[in-house]
């Protein structure tokens, strides 16, 4: 991409200090939740960030918005370095970069009307001043996400899960952001409601030219919405490719295993496929293995993997993978 990306994340690290087991043992242990993550998102583009629980995908989202303070690395939005901003200058940045959370039950203040939930960011940023202009804008936003503007005086408990997620989306849209970080926005919803929210996110993107960082464990949903997909494992991105390439020619053994484990809603295809069952469990991010993070569970690991930490390497057409195996599966 020739032009400057909307969002650029370089070598982002978020480490958490933890008390080691025992009284004196390992007191300086560090959980490397995000350990050197780099990616870009272009204006109007959707990048999917997938991985299993504990891989650091949510912490990546929080870290780039500085809702969790990064340990290291650089985040820039339209060329402004977010990581260099003083805390009080962050507010202006958060107008352009907003977030939708997983749990519409927990992320809305139960005492506020949904109108004031949606109006709050407008007040914070001093937009649409005056009660009439603000009411008008709130009505416009509720309509945009498919809610009845006349319901602005109602409280969150009067809405279903899907409707509450719409309120969260309206709030995120209030200040006309360029990019929305959506962290598992459909995971808590029923199947029929998930499709409604996916379609809404799609419509809003087309209508408003939004970019999304879509963070989720659900590969099918991520694939549906994303132009490109980044796969995370144990604090690192192990593979990035455009949607079609990632699904058709996954290069990293972890991506292959992940894809083979996704249940397909098609019994005939389910019987025909070969599933790669991974052994063991994800290692602790406080004590990752030497060399490649994935080698303890990798069906294709060989000597070099225990010694050399593979870096993300280009395989053509913007397809990157961090694996010592070459495309034909040889070391």
């Amino acid at each position: 991409m020739a032009e400057q990306p909307l969002l650029s994340v370089t070598d982002l690290r978020v480490h958490f200090p933890v008390a080691g087991g025992g009284l004196r043992r390992r007191q300086n242990a560090v959980v490397r939740a995000v350990d050197g993550v780099s990616f870009t998102v272009a204006a109007g583009e959707t990048l999917g960030l997938v991985g299993e629980s504990g891989c650091g995908k949510s912490t990546t989202g929080l870290g780039l918005l500085r809702l969790v303070e990064p340990t290291g690395g650089r985040v820039s939005v339209r060329g402004t370095e977010v990581t260099a901003l003083r805390r009080r200058d962050l507010r202006a940045m958060r107008r352009h970069l907003t977030m939708i959370f997983q749990d519409p039950y927990a992320s809305l203040d139960p005492r506020m009307t949904i109108g004031s939930v949606v109006a709050e960011p407008l007040a914070v940023h001093g937009l649409h001043r005056g009660s009439r202009a603000r009411r008008h804008r709130v009505g416009e936003l509720l309509e945009l996400v498919g809610l009845d503007p006349d319901h602005a005086h109602r409280h969150p408990h009067e809405f279903s899960g899907g409707q509450r997620q719409r309120v969260g989306i309206a709030r995120a849209l209030a200040c006309e952001p360029d990019l929305i970080v959506a962290d598992e926005p459909i995971a808590a919803l029923d199947v029929s409601i998930q499709a409604q929210i996916i379609n809404l996110l799609e419509d809003l993107r087309d209508e408003l030219g939004l970019a999304y960082l879509f963070i989720a464990h659900d590969l099918a949903a991520v694939g549906h919405l994303s132009d490109r997909i980044a796969v995370m494992y144990l604090g690192r991105i192990v593979e990035v490719a455009d949607r079609a390439t990632l699904f058709a020619r996954p290069a990293h053994p972890y991506t292959r295993a992940l894809l083979s484990a996704v249940p397909l809603p098609d019994p005939v295809a389910e019987r025909a496929r070969e599933r790669i069952i991974l052994r063991g469990a994800v290692p602790s991010p406080a004590d990752p293995p030497s060399g490649c993070n994935f080698r303890t569970r990798c069906p294709a690991a060989f000597d070099r993997c225990a010694v050399d930490d593979p870096v993300l390497t280009a395989r053509g057409d913007g397809h990157l993978a961090a694996c010592h195996l070459s495309d034909d599966g040889t070391g």
């Binding site: 899907g162 996916i198 379609n199 464990h217 996704v262 098609d266 994800v282």
Partner: protein, 336 residues
């Protein structure tokens, strides 16, 4: 399927008293499960799928009343006393719940929690019971099983805990396993491990499985037959291949069209089901899906509950309208 069903549920109905009135949670559900077979019960939240499973095991709390019949090898569990139920639960029929984090006792070791049902049901005692516990943990694929008996649940990952739960459920070799969203909280790679373990046990032990889930992908991979529930009723029931290839109920069709699919093809826009499932304290008259249905061509659906009718071998649908033929069924309903 040949032979007698091991579990036969007849007209199961559950009412729960709430502050807002009586919730009609399960409304006349009937199904059979044969030895070695997996019946998947699919539904969204509020469909009654979980409450129905609790009712089968007699685990409902006092605010709920269950009627109908739950026949396990001919014995009606709904008519059984608590003492008899306690002997049957675990021994003959067992259940695995969604959340392995809260279903295990955090202050007891895995070993003691596993040995307890084994001794309680008189399968074995003392060292023999511990050996049996190790054997069970090995069966569900837990590495270093003997060394881990002394560990507390917090030392185990979610997937490991769910394996322990399955080991506990299988401790007394039940004939039927009910699993309620048993892999929903797990990552897909862990889910794949657990599903493989259950399939293996089923082949070896001839276990009948009732797998309750909202996940149409999981169902496609493990089920022999599928029942689709909505607002406390089964709307469609069919062999798994037929349900996915030729669904006949508008709700089933809607659900299948609403699921995004993994694939290299350009994704098509998802079809949605407008609105949301009804409140069980205020079910609409007639077909409960009627207000959301795109095929409201038969006026009877607004006032009458459509009965399950047979449309193919082992395939039943509760809809007045024939989606395939494009006509209303029965004699007095006009094509509208």
């Amino acid at each position: 399927m040949a032979g007698d069903p091991v579990l036969s549920v007849r007209d199961l109905t559950v009412r729960i008293g709430t502050r807002r009135g009586v919730a009609r949670v399960v409304n006349g559900v009937s199904y059979d499960v044969h030895p070695g077979e997996t019946l998947a019960i699919v539904g969204e939240s509020g469909s009654g799928k979980s409450v129905g499973a609790l009712a089968v095991l007699g685990l409902l709390d006092e605010a709920a009343t269950a009627t109908g019949q739950v026949l396990l090898d001919g014995v009606d569990l709904l008519a059984a006393g608590e003492r008899q139920l306690r002997r049957i639960r675990g021994n003959e029929i067992a259940m695995v719940f969604q959340d392995p984090m809260t279903s295990l006792n955090p202050v007891k070791t895995i070993g003691s929690q596993l040995v307890e049902p084994i001794e309680l049901h008189g399968v074995a005692t003392g060292a023999a019971a511990r050996d049996r516990a190790v054997e069970l943990l090995e069966q569900v694929g837990l590495p270093d099983a003997r060394d881990r008996l002394g560990d507390y649940p917090h030392r185990f990952s979610g997937g490991m805990r769910q394996r322990v739960m399955i080991a506990m459920a299988l401790a007394c070799e039940p004939k039927v396993l009910l699993a309620d969203e048993a892999t929903t909280a797990l990552d897909v790679t862990t889910q794949a491990q657990i599903l493989e373990v259950v399939a293996g046990l089923q082949r070896r032990l001839g276990l009948a499985v009732v797998w309750i889930t909202h996940d149409l992908g999981v169902v496609a991979g493990i089920a022999d037959r599928v029942a689709v529930m909505y607002a406390g009723r089964i709307l469609e029931q069919a062999p798994v291949d037929e349900l996915y290839a030729a669904p006949r109920h508008p709700y089933t069709m809607g659900l299948l069209a609403a699921v995004p699919r993994v694939g290299a093809d350009r994704p098509r826009r998802l079809t949605t089901i407008p609105g949301q499932p009804p409140d069980p304290t205020a079910l609409p008259p007639g077909c409960a899906f009627h207000p959301r249905c795109g095929y409201r061509h038969d006026p009877r659906a607004a006032t009458e509950v459509p009965p399950l009718r047979t449309v193919g071998p082992d395939h039943r649908v509760a809809c007045f309208y024939d989606v395939v033929g494009g006509t209303a069924t029965g004699t007095d309903g006009g094509d509208g």
